[in-house]
């Protein structure tokens, strides 16, 4: 299955891309996504446990992903 990863703000700058497609085994979780991200250049600048959203809602690292999900890494927010 394939999920879309999205990066914003400082994370997008660190990783050098706003978005990638990622192939994962069925039953993969956000933890598996984080392992894949840790192999990307620039990932060393990210915190060990960034906030993550799946399909526009905050999600836990144990969240099981489905084909087509949009997974976003959310840097510390600063709205207002």
């Amino acid at each position: 299955m394939t999920v879309t990863l999205r990066f914003f703000a400082s994370y997008a700058e660190s990783l050098g891309v706003p978005s990638i497609e990622l192939d994962l085994a069925e039953g993969s979780t956000i933890d598996d996504v984080m392992k894949a991200i840790s192999a990307m250049p620039g990932s060393g600048k990210l915190p060990p446990h960034p906030l993550v959203a799946v399909n526009h809602s905050y999600a836990k690292n144990s969240h099981v992903l489905l084909d087509g999900d949009e997974v976003a890494l959310i840097p510390p927010v600063a709205g207002g």
Binding site: R6, S10, I74, V77, G79, G80
Partner: protein, 143 residues
């Protein structure tokens, strides 16, 4: 009436107040967040606001509905601006109205505090010395 939006042009706070006003409402309150000239002791020239737009819209809308449920305030609107903002420009405006003042003030405070905690919106501050910095809530005090 509950409404929220991300906008790219100037926020008209008078329009937001008009939107929540109604004959049965005895109290209307407004919060305006504006770009400050100084942050953590540095002179700010400009701030670039960006967002994970569909999620920010969903989150702000959820926050307003939580405030509505919690405080019984059903006249509540919020707009957050994105893009490049100069000193003094309004980045966020929230208006609430209710027959009585306490629920209106409570809903206003809840909404702005939750928005600042949860809405996936970021600001890149540009300083007078040429430096730039992604601001996070954890660093120093916030407006």
């Amino acid at each position: 009436m509950i409404r929220s939006a991300l906008v790219r042009t100037g926020i008209d706070s008078a329009r937001l107040i008009a939107e929540v006003s109604a004959a049965e409402n005895g109290a209307a309150v407004l919060f305006l967040g504006t770009v400050r000239s100084r942050n953590d002791g540095r002179d700010v020239l400009m701030i670039e606001y960006s967002a994970y737009e569909p999620m920010a819209e969903k989150e702000i809308d959820a926050i307003l509905h939580e405030a509505a449920d919690q405080f019984g305030v059903h006249c509540l609107v919020a707009e957050h601006r994105l893009g490049e903002l100069r000193i003094g420009e309004t980045s966020v405006a929230i208006a609430a109205a209710h027959p009585h003042r306490a629920p209106a003030l409570d809903a206003l405070r809840y909404s702005i505090e939750q928005l600042k905690l949860r809405a996936p919106i970021w600001k890149l501050e540009h300083y007078a010395d040429g430096d730039r910095n992604w601001v996070s809530a954890a660093e120093g005090k916030r407006a």
